[in-house]
Amino acid sequence: MSVQPAHRPSELRPLDVRTPDMTAAWRHVDWLLVAAIAALTLIGFALIHSASRLFELGSLLPRQLLFALMGVGVISVVAAIDYRKIVEKAVWVYGLAIVLLAAVLIPGVSKTVNGTQGWFDLGIFQFQPAETAKLAVIVTLAALLGGDRIANRALRLVVALALVGLPMAMVLVQPDLGSALVFLFIGAAMLFVGGIRGSYLAALALVAVLGATAILNSDALADYQRDRITTFLDENCPSGEAACYNVRQAEIAVSSGGVTGYGYGRGPQTTGQFVPEQETDFIFTVAGEEFGFAGSVAILALYALLIWRLWYTAVVAPDQQGRLLCVGVMALLMFHLFENIGMSIGMMPVTGIPLPFISYGGSSLLTMFAAVGLVLNVHMRQWDVS
């Protein structure tokens, strides 16, 4: 059983100069993937406008358009450079990400939003180094697990855990619980596909559960973060009015949309601005309220298409590094969308995780474009084994 083609065309010498090079990267752009992210980004524009059009400073749509334009540049650049060259430079990528994560912790340099010290104010948008660190971890783990620099599998596991653990610890200091969980999820998925032994995996899972319990019972989390999680766990939410309010308003918005929704721009919860952070973290509630179950499922379907294309690229990737890149990106996106939609509909605790391609925000959008760029990159070079 094999997904590999019987002949790799690149192994054959071209017989005739006029024969086109069917292995050329540009011939293998995954247009389905591009279409999926384009559709999601466009839906994002509509939802952001609906949520923000009544803001005092006006709709945020023009800014998001600008970010998307920058995103097209980012995805083009990331897809153009052979992913193997990127993976080669993993040490540098990782180092830079860690430096930025460290810099953001220096008081005065960075900006605190919602109690989390995790942003650089770049004027045009607020840059969140945790986002780029997610990409850096994906690239680095791909380099480590897909390469053969460290032959000892146990040692390789330890190094991998350390590489994931460092940025995780650093974002927890900010504190940004959501991003820390993203690192965890990325690490787990890549280690899983990267060939870690089943027994190790079981042990890690146990440690994770114990660790999470310990964190919840310690002082490591700010009150509001604990509130969000305990709100999620406790249906009647006696702790923390604010956290309870967020979740309740979000649920009301989504649920009251019914099967077909109130129609664009007509959702009472949305126009009344009853859902906090609706243009960013709770953007999905706009879709839920205004487009109902039909619209929500349509968005889920687009995400499913996106995830499927990532999964497919992982399958057809020409090497383990490429495969791991795809798995990492897939984990990143899957976690983001599940956690984000999940919290909007009361399934998951509230964290500051944006909905990929749809939530307002330059940092998130550019990161997602770059991430998908890596996968496009792999897809484009699936026949190129040079």
């Binding site: 126009t271 009853f274 499922v297 399958v315 509909i345 399934m347």
Partner: protein
């Protein structure tokens, strides 16, 4: 590719599928199965009703020139609801920053404590716009629009406020506009009137205060509008549900000619300042603290001008009055500028009152056949036969001069006090026949002692003292006396001496300049007592932004106030002619009390009639210079009778012919000659022509 990654990739795929499935299931549960439950819990949209005042109507002069207009003003205010979200430190920082911002624009008036007081003012509801500063510079409007995030709750609005193209001219007629106070808001009359007009007040509304603004409030006030909007949690407007636009109020046309008004104020003010600081021959200083002239049209009672000095700048009262300004405007030491002395000032009429005394004597038959036709005054003194313990029993002419024989006509011309003492004394002695109050009753016929009823807030009625009044007030005081205390009024009964005092306008008789002018208009026009008319009509303009006289701006509706004849005085025999001749003699007869003044100051074209008056106001303990009173009407040789009647009263400024006389003559001159200088507008670099200085007599 070995099997492990492939297998594990497949497992990963299955995990993803199950995650999607769980999201879909939850959405199905929320949106399809349980929609009703959640939708019912959704916040009902909040409705908010915003009340908006309609712009007030304008106040126009007789020719439709705009005396009080509206303009847009930038108002910086605060919304309490948004400030409530802040903690106390943030709030105090906000107020501090705001005060600093204002101060950086040289607006010192707004201090942090003022802002706090204003925000805590219970008149304003939670979502109301609470004004902090009216007429802010436009730069501030831009600034706050750009820095909304730094100044939460601060809003900038444009509001219509009053503007006064002629500045201080006529200010005390026009009145001003201010926020309705609690007393006014609770006043049942005001509430009822507003309800009748369909313009109920809300607590932050404006209301006319003083002058025409107050008396014509019902007409001037715009109809408030309201807008009901659906708002979001943050207060942004989602949708306008219902909108009733405010309507502009009606324009009020006065009978005042602003040019005449400006000129009357100008002459009055100049001559008052000319006289000030000089002393009379007894050494009493001329203070002339206030003064007033009233000009009426004897044909129909229309008021042409009501000059009151000192004046004030009404624009200082726009948008709230500081305590300092308020106290200054009401300070008697500075002449209480807020008072309209022409209608609210009550002054002793002095000899101008002889009009009333003589009318009473003539019409009560004191000169009927068989009665003495006149009085020979060889001593300058008059002795009251039965003075009954009243004021001193021997009275004399001013200066103790013996004036010889007087009949009713010449008694006016030469202003013989002795003649009038005689009349007063005789009428009191004839009280069995004439009643106790023949003089007072005559005064009432000329409109003295009661308000004329012109639409001006704060009009005073003057006073006609009567024996009844004497008795009442004595008895009232008696009831409240402590044992051993003496009644402050001294005596209970009116005596002949009191009638004698009243006969020459002394004692306790008080008139307003307008009453006096109208009384002389009544004699001038042959006995028709017109009700003074200040407002001629009220119009609803087609376009309130265009000039009321513009040809393309005809009024949509007009309410006209026609002249009202109060009374026609029943002059019998030749009494009217006798009196008119006496008053004409005052001006044109060589012995007339104003004859010298008339020639000194150039007089007026045509034949005129009038009366001088000098009122004694001071006491021995508190000497004051005499009050100068002058009344004039004419030209009596005009085809249809006199066109003007004027009364000028300036307290503490000497004889009637010395100060008020020349003031009245010079005030009327350009009106009579038809060359009134136009009133200067604010911002025009033009003054009225100078008035030659008054020849102040010691």
């Amino acid at each position: 590719m070995d099997d492990t990654p492939r297998l594990r990739l497949s497992i990963l795929g299955i995990v993803c599928i199950s995650l999607f499935a769980s999201l879909t299931a939850r959405l199905w549960y929320l949106q399809v199965l349980n929609r009703e439950e959640f939708a019912a819990e959704g916040q009902q949209s909040q409705l908010r009703t915003v009340h908006e005042q309609g712009p007030r109507g304008r106040i126009l002069d007789v020719k439709g020139r705009v005396l009080v207009d509206n303009r847009l003003s930038v108002v910086v205010g605060i919304v309490r609801d948004e400030v409530d979200d802040l903690n106390s430190q943030e709030r105090s920082e906000l107020y501090g920053a705001l005060a600093d911002k204002f101060n950086s624009y040289d607006i010192e008036a707004l201090k942090r404590a003022d802002i706090e007081d204003q925000v805590n003012d219970p008149r304003y509801a939670q979502f109301d716009f609470i004004p902090l500063y009216q007429d802010a510079p436009p730069e501030l409007e831009l600034f706050f629009a750009e820095h909304r995030e730094d100044y939460p709750g601060i809003r900038v609005r444009r509001e219509t406020i009053r503007t006064y193209p002629y500045g201080h001219i006529g200010a005390s007629i026009l009145g001003y506009v201010g926020h309705i106070d609690e007393q006014e808001y609770a006043d049942p009359d005001i509430r009822q009137a507003a309800a009748d007009e369909g313009k109920p007040y809300s607590k932050e509304d404006d209301i006319g205060k003083g002058g025409v603004e107050q008396s014509m409030e019902a007409q001037l006030r715009g109809t408030p509008g309201s807008t009901t909007v659906e708002v979001s949690r943050t207060g942004a407007v989602v949708q306008v549900r219902e909108e009733t636009p405010p309507k502009v109020g009606a324009d009020v046309w006065l009978t005042i000619d602003i040019d005449a008004q400006a000129w009357a104020e100008h002459v009055l003010k100049e001559h008052m300042s000319d006289v000030r600081g000089h002393r009379d021959k007894d050494g009493r200083i001329y203070r002339a603290p206030e003064g007033a002239s009233a000009i009426v049209n004897p044909h129909n009672g229309e008021i042409i001008a009501l000059a009151s000095v000192p004046t004030y700048d009404p624009s200082a009262l726009v948008g709230g009055i500081s305590t300092d300004v308020w106290e200054e405007l009401n300070d008697p030491a500075s002449g209480s500028p807020l008072n309209n002395w022409a209608v609210s000032g009550q002054f002793p009429p002095g000899s101008t009152f002889k009009l009333v005394t003589l009318y009473a004597a003539l019409e009560n038959g004191l000169f009927a056949p068989g009665q003495p036709p006149g009085l020979e005054d060889s001593t300058g003194k008059y002795t009251i036969a039965d003075c009954g313990g009243g004021p001193s029993c021997v009275r004399q002419n001013a200066g103790g001069v013996a004036l010889g024989y007087s009949d009713p006509q010449s008694s006016l011309t030469i202003s013989s006090d002795v003649f009038y003492y005689w009349l007063g004394d005789r009428m009191w002695r004839g009280k069995e026949l004439l009643g106790e109050t023949p003089i007072q009753d005559a005064g009432a016929k000329f409109g003295l002692g009661t308000k004329t009823g012109i639409p001006l807030a704060g009009e005073a009625g003057g006073r006609m003292p009567t024996p009844d009044m004497w008795r009442k007030r004595f008895d009232e005081a008696e009831k409240r006396l402590e044992p051993g205390e003496e009644n402050p009024w001294g005596r209970r009964n009116w005596t002949a001496g009191d009638s004698v005092n009243l006969s020459i306008g002394q004692g306790e008789a008080l008139v307003t300049p307008l009453q006096l002018a109208n009384a002389y208009a009544t004699i001038g026009n042959g006995g028709t007592h017109n009700k003074p008319l200040l407002v001629s009509k009220v119009t609803v303009p087609t376009d309130a932004t265009k000039a009321p006289t513009a040809p393309d701006n005809p009024p949509l509706a007009t309410e006209t106030f026609l002249p009202v004849v109060q009374d026609r005085l029943p002059f019998t025999e030749n009494h009217l002619a006798v009196m008119q001749a006496g008053f004409e003699g005052v001006i044109h007869n060589g012995r007339g009390t104003a004859n010298d003044m008339w020639s000194d100051y150039g007089g007026l074209p045509g034949r005129w009639a009038g009366k001088t008056g000098t009122s004694e106001a001071g006491t021995d303990a508190n000497p004051k210079a005499d009050g100068s009173v002058f009344a004039l009407y004419g030209p009596v040789d005009a085809p249809f009778g006199p066109n003007f009647a004027i009364a000028t009263i300036i307290p503490e400024s000497g004889f009637g012919a010395d100060t008020s006389g020349p003031t009245a003559v010079r005030t009327l001159r350009p009106l009579v000659e038809g060359n009134l200088p136009p009133a200067p507008k604010v911002g025009e670099d033009r003054d009225l022509p100078p008035v030659p200085p008054l020849d102040v007599k010691p």
